[in-house]
Symmetry: C2
Subunit: 175 residues, 2 copies
């Protein structure tokens, strides 16, 4: 039953609640769940593909107190964004290396749900894994959920991993 490795694309994002860049609770949860429940000991049977989508607007929010005085200010901002994205992916690639499972990771800019769907079309994984904050219907109206959009629009099977209740931050819209 072993042919080509099963290619699992995982959408990962940064935490919105804590300081320096690290993975959100829901994307770390989705990743660890995939390792423990799907990959298990069969590390050669799977290849993990990490996609991080940077949201231009959201990044802008962190810069509300910044003053832009020269083109270089924007250049350094771009460099810093890039560094944060790379730092995030490094975490996942390192974990894969520890466990011994093949992986690839890359960064795109744009609206996460649109970009994820576009990348699934391009890369054609066997399975897409997305973490979800597990928001209720009321919160969903305002926040929208990437996972719901992907389940509807993506051709390949999609697995939605909800953040467990005991891991939720104070404001469930966060992270």
């Amino acid at each position: 039953m072993e042919g080509d490795a099963t290619r699992v694309m995982i959408g990962v994002n940064e935490s919105t609640i804590k300081g320096y860049p690290h993975a959100s609770i829901s994307s770390r949860g989705a990743f660890e769940w995939t390792l423990h429940k799907i990959v298990r000991s069969n590390t050669s049977g799977f290849k993990l593909l990490f996609l991080h989508v940077q949201v231009p607007d959201e990044d802008g929010f962190d810069d509300m107190d910044s003053i832009y005085a020269s083109p270089d200010d924007f250049k350094s901002m771009n460099l810093r964004d890039k560094a944060r994205g790379i730092h995030l992916l490094e975490y996942f690639v390192n974990r894969c290396h520890e466990v011994g499972v093949q992986c690839e990771a890359w960064i795109k800019k744009g609206d996460p749900k649109e970009v994820i769907c576009h990348e699934v079309k391009r890369v054609r994984p066997d399975l897409l894994v997305v973490g979800s904050r597990g928001l209720g219907p009321f919160q969903r109206v305002f926040v929208g959920t990437v996972s719901e959009f992907c389940v509807k629009h993506v051709e390949c099977p999609v697995i939605t991993i909800k953040r467990s209740a005991d891991e939720a931050p104070q404001d469930p819209v966060d992270d």
Copy 2:
């Protein structure tokens, strides 16, 4: 990384398009996909749990031309329904036996989406797999989709496997 086997619950149903009981295209697709892409050669790492929900009303439709004259007519109808459900599960259990993966299978009556959610709460699988007919938004309004309901209401991760376009029957609402 091998602890207890990953318990995968798969919702299975009968085809609505052809004659004698057999699995629907979407539930066979979901099952085979799970074997090939998730279980792979790691057969001891997984246990498959098949849940078949029989819909009382739907079964009634087949009996539009029947005449009920005695209590025994209903008894034999119940027996026949039971036989059809068992026949369906036999297909999946046999396939698991061939492949060498542990399994369990059982039948419940009721509304599939409600029963599946209830059984997930009771059985606590690691993952729920549901096939989907991949209906468009217009068809969904009238037919409703079990998979969408489960993604929203079930605690465990849910994977939705769409029927591939080349396997769709003439009327996509079927099967």
